[in-house]
Point group: C2
């Protein structure tokens, strides 16, 4: 009698199939939302039959939850990586660069996150007002400290952080629109340049 595959799979096949399912689910959930996604679609994308997929995850909801947990773990890493001992402006610019690179490399993750937010974050609302808020408040304090020292020009620190999120994630979430307007020009080279200029002018002390 074989037990259902646990969160930490034991065989290579299990690991490979779980990974394929999560990748397929990311694709489908991030473009159709939870209710708009179907298990059939995810199974087809993963190259498995529907019952076989449901052998690895007990339900559609379980796949979605697993996906969101994995996402939250990594989504805020760039924020944690800000070094209180570094040069203020360079730290902020490096953070912006990391976020923009994530939009470029992991657009589906960005869209999954956006989907969840637009829907009112029914499944991660608590995490937002606890873990996320704490992390953002800490970072805001650091930024305000730098501003008080005159090493960054003064702005509302929380809205500064929001601006980084929105400016960078826009290139993942609204990719279609950006490309429709820009034409053949690559969005990300222009974007990197633009946000660098923006934050230098906004934050560099005279």
């Amino acid at each position: 009698m074989t037990a259902k595959p646990a969160a930490r799979p034991r065989t290579r096949i299990q690991a490979k199939n779980r990974a394929a399912i999560l990748d397929a689910a990311l694709e489908v959930f991030s473009t159709h939302g939870f209710r708009g996604a179907t298990v059939d679609q995810i199974a087809a994308e993963a190259g498995l039959s529907k019952p076989n997929l449901l052998y690895y995850f007990p339900s559609k909801e379980a796949i979605h939850t697993a996906l969101l947990e994995r996402l939250l773990d990594t989504w805020l890493d760039p924020l944690r990586a800000i070094d209180p001992g570094g040069d203020p402006l360079e730290e902020v610019l490096a953070y912006v660069r990391r976020k923009l690179e994530m939009s470029q490399s992991f657009p589906r993750e960005s869209r999954l996150f956006a989907m969840e937010m637009i829907q009112g974050a029914p499944r991660i609302h608590e995490v937002l007002s606890s873990d996320l808020k704490v992390l953002v408040d800490e970072t805001a304090s650091l930024l305000e400290h730098w501003m008080a020292q005159g090493r960054l020009r003064r702005v509302h620190a929380h809205h500064l952080i929001f601006s980084v999120w929105s400016l960078t994630q826009h290139y993942a979430d609204f990719d279609v629109q950006v490309r429709a307007v820009l034409g053949p020009e690559d969005p990300f080279t222009g974007a990197a340049d633009f946000v660098e200029t923006l934050y230098r002018r906004l934050l560099a002390p005279d």
Copy 2:
């Protein structure tokens, strides 16, 4: 024999019901996406029975299309309202203010638009690469003209426009996250202040 209600309803009841349906559909489509929304849900929200709703619109798709058409008509008005004869910086700031007010007053419209973009804009892709592109290109030319005159500091004009969209729409689309982080503080007063500062420092000639 009564004809099906046309796009321009003739009676007060028809106008009222069509309006109620579109309002309900806006609510449901903007939070669950097209496939995640159900006709039952929209009918309940509008206070009608499902068959009665389908008397006013032939299909779920037709409601969605009507909604998007109405949205596109108004969504870009703030951009069209930029006055080539006005003061450059003040025109940009006024545009930013209008967009932020739209996020505050019409968050559901913003989220419906975002949903459509995230899903790859399957229903409005052509409009993006034709009408929208033309309008944005024209505005970008105007901005570049102002920059060439030294009345605005130089930045990539298209990305400047993208930045206005992302910064302002963020407060509608990610409302849950913003409020979870800010707590009781009102997002929009802080946001208005922040974006004003941002664009002044980014664009004001020395």
